[in-house]
Symmetry: C2
């Protein structure tokens, strides 16, 4: 009976509901049935996406297995989403959502504000009127645009809050946690330029040009310039997933990789802060008055800088607190508690920033970077693999979910407003904005940069500007008004088109621009590698470890000062690294320094001779390297990445080969070494060697 019901599910819901209404009294049992039906509808919604993800996973596997590269996983997720969305839309099953039109009663007329109330209280008369009337609460859901289409509303759509509170944080945290800090810092100047200045330029270009277009289309005159500037900020957030997946598979030059990845990670953060600043600007000075207001503009700029830096500060602070907690408590003895603490602290970073009216995404990004740089070194081996694998998996699932959702919601979301003129103008502006970001800034950067960014890299950066999860999440946040609905529709389409067309074309573009693939991490493109020694063991120990004098000129003074400060004070404070604070702080601070130095830190030198810091640091770096090296095993000519490559997927936090082995080898040591000895951190082989050559001469 029940198996059959699965097929007839929607009808059963209707039937059940109607059936239960036929009975006389609205008893608890009926309300139970109602609650159960709601529950089943939720289950069915979730099931839909779970199936989509299963389908995506299996197809990705098949594509990887057969070495097809025309569509990538996010593209697949979108395409499957579109197909299923169309089926849901046109299969025409109806859920019986009962509605009642209401108007304010005598008491309700006292409500005299200009926005709809948060809750409605309905005094619902029980028909047999044996029981007293009851008051039921109803919460705000949104505007009804098309009074006929309300049924679909409840099907296969989620509260946008879910995207912001549940789906985005792990994606962004993972980006920070798995960032290849070495190459990120080496290209920091360029990345910051593209992300900070470039995204701002792009937003304004989009806003201005769109404003021009809108003036030509009289039916769109509800859009103000600020609306369009906001729209510009929304669609300036680029998404790395598809491009980076392909870059990873093909072992593209690491500096190009770092530029694309770094920029897209940071510009998500910039776009969200920028859109927030624009909102604040328009809140302060209602647009009705029109015109440009200089003080408001500067306050908006101040907001932008303030939000960004405060969010960054909270993220870094929470990362440091986690590092301190893991250093000074022995929570490491219980790996599951440690992992739970790590996850909870990271997630609370996001929530704290959001609750403080800051930007959680920025906070969680920098928290991820701090966790990788400091906390990771204090974790037990168990927790290291666990956290990396957990966030890798969460990231994979969250990303594919969001792309499936974009696909499905194209059909099921009831508030889409398709406007061909607006959409075409937006597409044009999106590319124009991207070009206005990349090319002029690259030109300026190349003036002062020794290894210049070649033109083919610039083209690749231009085409790597896919729009993705962040743009969609920003657009779906508020869809109450007509203008915002148009923005959502356009953003969705932009995401779908760029992910499928540009994402699918990445391989061809790489070949077209003659960008070499299958590059070993340290054997970079000629005009990059020429400047430096390419041997791993000598100059390329770690980004943090400066390296040979020949690349000092690349490094800004600030970066060098920070590095020095980090190694001398921050790392000894937050991790078990050597030198300890006792060695680096002036003698007068000895009591404090002793307090902040753990026994592990003091004793480990005798056992492992300062390997702890250096290779834990390098292990952090190694994670990144493992990925590229793993990807390159099947590298070489285009599309030849072997099916056996275990790191082919961009989301795979590359733990296994590079690192787990030494860690586990350590844990298989005889117990006489004691559970807390730094043998947990022993990292044999080239890793140690590199660390020693890179670090020891400095001390």
């Amino acid at each position: 009976m029940s198996i059959k019901r699965l097929h007839l599910y929607f009808y059963v819901v209707v039937w059940n509901t109607l059936w239960s209404y036929c009975c006389c009294e609205p008893s608890d049992i009926e309300l139970d049935v109602k609650a159960q039906n709601t529950h089943r509808l939720d289950s069915l919604n979730l099931l839909l996406y779970t199936f989509l993800l299963i389908l995506t996973v299996l197809t990705i596997w098949l594509f990887k297995h057969r070495r097809l590269r025309y569509v990538h996983e996010t593209g697949l997720a979108v395409i499957y989403g579109l197909i299923v969305g169309a089926i849901i839309r046109y299969a025409g099953s109806t859920t019986a959502v009962l509605h009642m039109s209401v108007e304010p009663d005598d008491k309700g007329r006292e409500y005299n504000q200009s926005v709809p109330p948060d809750t409605l209280w309905l005094r619902f008369p029980n028909k047999p009127s044996t029981t007293p009337n009851k008051t039921y609460a109803y919460t705000f859901r949104g505007e009804i645009v098309d009074l006929e289409e309300n049924e679909i509303d409840l099907k296969a759509t989620f509260d946008p809050e879910i995207f912001f509170n549940i789906i985005l944080p792990p994606i962004i945290f993972h980006a920070g946690y798995s960032l290849k800090r070495k190459y990120f810092f080496r290209n920091l100047g360029a990345i910051l330029t593209y992300a900070l200045i470039g995204t701002t330029i792009s937003s304004f270009v989009v806003g201005a040009v769109m404003y021009g277009f809108v003036q030509l289309m009289p039916h769109l005159n509800t859009f103000t310039f600020l609306d369009l500037l906001y729209f510009g900020a929304v669609i300036s957030a680029t998404d790395p997933v598809t491009v980076i997946a392909i870059f990873n598979d093909l072992s593209v030059d690491v500096n190009l990789y770092a530029l694309v990845f770094g920029e897209s990670v940071l510009n998500d953060a910039v776009a969200i802060v920028l859109s927030g600043a624009i909102q604040h600007y328009s809140e302060r000075y209602q647009i009705g008055s029109g015109g440009f207001e200089a003080p408001a503009f500067f306050r908006a700029v101040g907001d932008f800088v303030g939000f960004f830096s405060l969010s960054l500060f909270i993220g870094a602070l929470m990362g440091c607190i986690t590092a301190m907690l893991t250093k000074f408590t022995r929570v490491r003895d219980f790996p599951i508690l440690e992992s739970a603490l790590f996850v909870l602290m990271s997630y609370s970073t996001f929530l704290i920033a959001e609750a403080a009216e800051l930007t959680g995404i920025v906070a969680v990004l920098f928290c991820g970077m701090c966790q990788a740089h400091y906390t990771y070194n204090n974790l037990s081996p168990d927790s290291r693999t666990r956290t990396k694998q957990l966030f890798g998996l969460l990231n994979f699932l969250a990303e594919n979910f969001i792309f499936s959702y974009i696909g499905v919601s194209m059909f099921t979301f009831p508030k889409h407003h398709f406007d061909v003129g607006f959409i075409l103008a937006s597409f044009f502006c999106a590319f124009l904005g991207r070009a206005a970001n990349i090319y002029p800034l690259s030109f300026i950067l190349n003036l002062g940069r020794k290894p210049k960014i070649p033109l083919q890299f610039q083209h690749m950066l231009f085409f790597a500007g896919l729009r993705g999860a962040m743009a969609f999440a920003l657009a779906i946040r508020n869809t109450v008004s007509d203008a915002r609905q148009r923005m959502l529709t356009t953003t969705s389409l932009l995401v779908i088109m760029t992910v499928i067309v540009l994402g699918g074309g990445t391989m061809q573009l790489l070949a077209w621009f003659k960008i070499p693939v299958g590059v070993e991490e340290e054997v970079e493109m000629l005009h990059y590698g020429g400047v430096r020694n390419t041997l791993v063991d000598t100059s390329e120990g770690s980004a943090m470890n400066a390296g040979s004098p020949s690349d000092v000129h690349e490094r800004a003074l600030l970066a060098r000062v920070w590095r020095e400060f980090d190694v001398r004070y921050v790392k000894p404070l937050l991790t078990h690294a050597r030198p300890t604070l006792l060695e680096t702080l002036p003698v007068c601070c000895n009591p404090v320094a002793r307090l902040l130095t753990t026994t592990e830190q003091m004793t480990q030198e005798t056992q492992t001779h300062s390997r702890l810091d250096s290779d834990s640091d390098l292990c952090g770096e190694e994670r990144g390297m493992g990925s590229i090296r793993g990807g390159s095993t099947g590298g070489g000519p285009l599309g030849r990445s072997g099916p056996h490559c275990r790191f082919g997927i961009h989301n795979e936090l590359p733990s296994s080969a590079g690192e787990t082995q030494p860690l586990l080898r350590a844990s298989s040591l005889p117990p006489e070494h004691g559970p807390f000895s730094s043998t947990f951190y022993s990292c044999p082989g080239p890793c140690r060697h590199t660390a020693e050559t890179a670090r020891l001469p400095r001390r």
Copy 2:
């Protein structure tokens, strides 16, 4: 500025909201602000629980570190929850939830059904009336009991759906996935008796006695017998977490462990199906008519059996499909895809069962058992650790979240109805029901059972009947009516009291009943061990591997037949185990058998001589053993479990020591072995030995 705002958060929300209302037009910007405020409130809610969990984690660590055992983690979570709930309740900050009283308008009066509608449509007039009126949708939230207290409604409470769709499934799946199948199957008869028959008895005893009490309390005459029977089913679901955590730490006798864990896992499933059957019964025959109706009763019994077995079937089927998918595809080459597939298939089991109007909890429980028994053997080493660690962590977080929530909601949930009489009667009935479950059934069981269940075990089983997550989740599902609100309050209190008092007293009870702790897994209590050979290597290879003839009498014919069938047909079909189907199926089926036998399966004998099946099977078992052994490293007298014990926490899926080491050793083999060779499965040392002695003589 923004840091300050964190403290003044609630006031800022109010201020912001009011401030934005002062401006004239309800523009998009204002609605953005509104959306943002909702978002911040959500963040703050989540932050609250995240902080509670962090606090719990740190305190657990401190307690473990200092070897305190008076309160356990779930108890801690509840206590912290209560404290924070009280602060929220009485700190008196108010969120400005604006409400409007409404009544049906002309169109709305056409609505003529007896239950409140799902959505309300409000035609909201924009005050300046320059723009046309808009229609907003509002969704049903529940009944308002106390019109004054509506503000708290939105604070720190979650939709009950979240418990059922998000929090419970990982807990229950983990229970199935980490079940010690060996001891579970050895005590299957007793476990099934307690869980199936015992829970039913308990529900009826509670229902009947409560009905008697209610007759004595005239103000409670709204309760029907079926209501109370439902209540009986709700509070008959016992929760293992606290007790099992302590059992694990202390290495209590494994059979007692299996009885308590097995019973509480299964009776969750029984309680949820039972409560569903009771609902169906009352749906069919509206209680208004009164009296007992035999056909409805038998249909309810049929429902119970049908729901349970169909849910079980779906769970097992999905487990088997996952096993087939992982066996016949090479998705293993990409561990993250494999892990994602595993997680998605497991979660979809829950959703499929729920969508088919079956019981997802039962399905996901048996799915977990199948995944552990079959799929686990096909997974890559990466995915094995990943899935175990992931579910271990999820389970830990979910459990502690639910207990924190129970604590917080005691104060913040607006619909509590405290009724001293009802509560006291329920406490009495809960214990009476538990006693009516354990003692008579133990007596009957002991008639036919060779190693009898001693009286002190029975007492321990009686006291291990803590109420927990499942009871709470069932009770909070529907809180619309007065009767249901009383049930929720009572259930919450029952959970809190049993978890804190009984959970905290477990240690003392164990000492009181003189139940030995620190027992090595195979050295059981005397009168158990006396029957069997206690050496691991000879008779105790694996529960599945029957063992010495002396314990054949314990095993029902059915179990033996199933075991034979499993080893000969199911395992070869679903895993890479030997013997292959080519060997076990009749010759006529050879073509089919060849199709269902993989190359790995065919070739592995030459390399590893049938170790694949046996030790993958044993590895599955080993997981369980590792846990107990790990726990016992610091065992001995009461409370002496050492702080260095890495498996002290019940939620820790004990991967590392027992198993990861051989797996990783395998993956560190030189690549000439090929990525798909069965070296992945090599399991050196005693594991192999046991497997061969146990399995080989049979073939």
